[in-house]
Symmetry: C2
Subunit: 357 residues, 2 copies
């Protein structure tokens, strides 16, 4: 929160009308209804403050609700935030907590953790489309490379394809380095009516599209190799603009597991069905490529503090579009960008589109 005001010195507490806080689980900190305490402890007096929860996409959901709240006309300035403090508990307990993101009777009770569900998606993608473990690994290698120059990233370590392939098996074909890490994180952005943005900043970014959709739990679906919620969300978001997916200059997308990034390429429309693996190894989604994806390092290497990730993506887009990033992960001449959040194994998805004013 300190950083929020650092980045936006003209914004004062009294300007803020409401807060939406994405948080995945009450169990990590043994505390529910976190939003009101959050705002009042930070000196915002008695403003409406609401926790929203859609596990991994909680931050994206918080952002969507902030948009709806402004459009409602009730508020002029809101804060959309996200938080998760996962290291309060042992890693084994963290995995037990995270398993709550999946269906109880048919997924949890059969031992299907989130890694297992995504491993099923990966296996089926390999079977149907010839996707390889090397292609999965290429996602991890790229995102670790990007994280190297991101001082906010958790895993700042260059890795090779061979490192990924030889890392500890988690759930075949996913290895340790195919998975995002358990970590702590918090993020916040201020969102205001377009007409008053110049009061608070000389470099406003417009949100020009928002999309959200849900789906049945993973094991109930016909096709395990795509996430319908992503497809519907990106369609809704792009329909609000006159843009197509290829007009994006950079994308921050959900890569909690490497297979997620490959499937997201396809669901977002960056390539045809089954071609995500090839796109991953082509280099087109590196920072220097045609369409940079997860220049921040992504959830994979920047880290995935569940409730925070969605807002962390928005922060990265803001920094990229306003030229606040230098060094190897700076995306050149970026004007238009997209974020993509996913809760559970595609149980819900949110897409937002941003543009320099």
């Amino acid at each position: 929160m300190v950083e929020l005001f650092d980045n936006c010195p003209k914004l004062e507490r009294a300007d803020v009308d409401s807060l939406y806080l994405g948080q995945g689980f009450e169990s990590f900190e043994h505390r529910a209804n976190t939003a009101p305490g959050f705002v009042n402890n930070f000196g915002f007096q008695n403003i409406p403050a609401t926790r929203v929860e859609s596990v991994s996409s909680s931050g994206g959901t918080s952002f969507r609700l902030g948009i709806l709240a402004l459009l409602s006309g009730l508020y002029e300035v809101v804060i959309c935030a996200g938080v998760e403090k996962m290291t309060t508990v042992e890693t084994s307990s963290a995995l037990e907590i995270i398993s709550m993101a999946s269906d109880r009777p048919f997924e949890q009770w059969n031992g299907a953790t989130l890694a297992a569900l995504n491993a099923l998606a990966a296996r089926e993608h390999m079977r149907k489309y010839g996707t390889t473990e090397e292609q999965l690994a290429a996602v991890a290698v790229k995102n670790h490379e990007n994280a190297l120059s991101n001082e906010k990233a958790y895993l700042r370590k260059r890795i090779s394809i061979e490192d990924v392939l030889s890392s500890k098996k988690i759930c075949t074909p996913l290895k340790l380095l195919d998975c995002s890490p358990v970590c702590d994180g918090a993020s916040a952005v201020a969102l205001c009516r377009s007409s008053i943005a110049s009061k608070f900043t000389d470099s406003p970014i417009d949100v020009i599209g928002t999309g959200e959709a849900s789906d049945a739990d993973f094991v109930y679906r016909d096709d395990l190799t795509c996430f319908r919620s992503t497809k519907l969300a990106v369609n809704e978001a792009l329909e609000m603009t006159d843009l197509r997916i290829r007009d994006m200059d950079l994308i921050e997308l959900h890569d909690a597991f490497t297979i997620n990034e490959i499937i997201a390429y396809e669901d977002l429309g960056l390539c045809g069905k089954g071609e995500g693996g090839k796109l991953a190894e082509s280099g087109a989604t590196t920072v220097q490529g045609e369409i940079p994806v997860n220049a921040s390092g992504g959830l994979k290497a920047k880290g995935h503090p569940i409730g925070s990730s969605g807002i962390g993506q928005v922060f990265e887009i803001y920094e990229q579009l306003t030229g606040k990033i230098s060094g190897p992960r700076k995306v050149a001449d970026a004007n238009t960008a997209m974020t993509h959040s996913m809760g559970g194994a595609g149980v819900d998805a949110l897409v937002h589109v941003f543009q320099i004013r």
Copy 2:
């Protein structure tokens, strides 16, 4: 949900654009991100579905977000729902789970359960204003009386002042019959743009005011005998109307503990500060009184399935205002009504105002 369609046969699944689901805790059912599964299992295809959590007021928050969502212009029809299945776990575990509604370092770690915090409020109210245990008990007696004729109520049992006073001590001065019960429940209402309501029902109810506010955690406050969040929320809600609190024909308010109803009388403005106890024993808030409060039986006797309660209140108001209730708890000539939800010990509050069209 079946009942939702029973009560509104002209509404079809395809009409519903989005759902907001209030749920207090993921821990009862070991499942987070419940909203998407909820809608897709009920046959709503891929619509945006969001869980919101503010513990006891989650239902009220869900309703507020439904209003914002409609006002945003993105949606025409939304469902606001609430759910909690508390009996999945043992009662001792339920209390442990519910304790997450309070502050961890200064409340939970010192053993201050929700009952303990509300007992502090009661003790201080007794000390400052001379409120008596009999006056607290009068709230329970009234709400149990109302629940007798509510087939949806959990505790349908007439009780006397003496029954309350002699019931098991929970946290002095609160006894067992001063506390709402642990139980299961679910509720849902459909909300649409005012202009299209006649497509779905011949008896629409208008939502004419909404208010929401937050506060610091209980032990951090100067005055333990009032809840500022309620005062701010009711002011915001009434300011949207040309009405005053005394214009309400009935009120459903948060009475998880009897002291909550007494303090809510004062915070909502039904009486002066410190006069809530006297109002409780005066009979003015019975169904036949000047301003009926909790004609449903309230959280106290209808039951308090955490996330469901706020929407359950809205359902009661709908049934009362549309004349669907007969028998002893029917409020005569009711045109205007209010709901009041509270999360934790006044950590947040929501107020809504309703009127017959």
